[in-house]
Symmetry: C2
Subunit: 290 residues, 2 copies
Amino acid sequence: MHFKDANAEPMAPSIRIAVVAPGTRIDEALAERLQKFAADTFLDRAPEIVVHPQCFLSAGHFAGDDAARLRAFVEAANDPSFDAVWFARGGYGACRIAEAALAELNGASRLKTYLGYSDNGAILGGLYARGYANIVHGPIPVDLTRAGGEAAVKRALAWLIDRAPESLELGAMFDGKHAAFNITVLQSILGTSLEPDLSGHVLMLEDVGEYLYRLDRALFAITSSANVRSVKGIKLGRISDIPENDKPFGATEEEIARYWCAKAGIVYLDRADIGHDVENKVVPFGALKR
Amino acid sequence: MHFKDANAEPMAPSIRIAVVAPGTRIDEALAERLQKFAADTFLDRAPEIVVHPQCFLSAGHFAGDDAARLRAFVEAANDPSFDAVWFARGGYGACRIAEAALAELNGASRLKTYLGYSDNGAILGGLYARGYANIVHGPIPVDLTRAGGEAAVKRALAWLIDRAPESLELGAMFDGKHAAFNITVLQSILGTSLEPDLSGHVLMLEDVGEYLYRLDRALFAITSSANVRSVKGIKLGRISDIPENDKPFGATEEEIARYWCAKAGIVYLDRADIGHDVENKVVPFGALKR
């Protein structure tokens, strides 16, 4: 039988993480599962994860209307007590609030880490374009719902808590600047104020659920951009769940990437270990801080 | 019993039209049906329609490989004996050949009319960007395969042959400059050399087979463009065959268009009579020539 030690302080969290949902919603059960998983996995290094109630709202497609999603993101970003803002899931919606939200951010917002991928890339791109130092492409809470998703979420948390090198995409460990995006999302922010300067970066690209002809068209648009043509090279992440078209496209996703890189005079640098799956690794934007 | 009049000249065609397929293929039966329909419908004003054999090729997704599609388009455009180039169908592929093809065009190519829509917009946009005077958004041969498609194809031919005013989208009959595009295709050419100057134009936009969240994202990208923000206004054509998503979007296509126009400071000018259907009207780019 154990007695409570009256002298013990409540264990201080390693870091404080705010979870917001700029696109689509999650449910309360996932939030609880996330908090329990983090506590059980990281023990004395466990973070405090504060899931903003906005994550549970619903307004048509979105986790609350534009005003609610914007407000939650700005609150989390501007609150100096949080070390990180973590996007609960993707699912379209970030671009609707990104520009207005970024215009409201304060000095404290620059000191924290922002972690997400997929649709979240609209905000990550906009933050990076505004000189934010700790922008990270990697797993998010909703990945817990994938089979084996605990490994992905642990990878993201280990990066947020301890900058664990084993969380990193291997290529991102080497010298040089990196950025990572969903292809469809990157295409949608080109030419907008959310588009960051990609010159000299290794650009990692992934996508999910797109017909190959759509991938081809998106890579036409992306590789036509002068900004993208200034990258050090492109690495192709995983292109998963490609729907079957009424006629086969006639080229693989890698052949498509090589085709457009060759046309645009961009170096194709092989594959990247990112994608909409549990193997998705962490890619900090810019040069790796050691 | 009729005897052949030995003195009769073979009837001269009203105009000569070259049909090429920069995206996907058509079959020979459609070409024959098109030629017979044009002859039967326009009688003494019937055009000669020359369907390039490239239209029947197949290479994966496309009507022949890039080289074959580029060659056919350039041959047709550069041949001074043709009055018009008509795109057989859409279906993705024009952007793969557009820039290289346009670089090969000669002076004769500037004297003819180019007619198409959907994926063809990548070439139409590029031609208009290069100052071509007769670029037209309107029905194409494959529309014959729609129920009631004869009316659409007749409308296109009546424009090509006689500049028939009854073929026109009503708004395009009034003063001012116009342009019309498929939304997804316009998004893909923004920032490329295929993007025309749209300042002062009424911009008509249509799409087919896209989820509303994709439409929303595309309109974010399009209305973020400084070029698009210089238009006189946007008119929304038909958005047809919208797939049902796992969650309803929560806004109609018109509400989406109004939302992004309002955000971008673009005047929303109501609906346009264009779309992927048999009612699709003819929209000549630029100011209407009378």
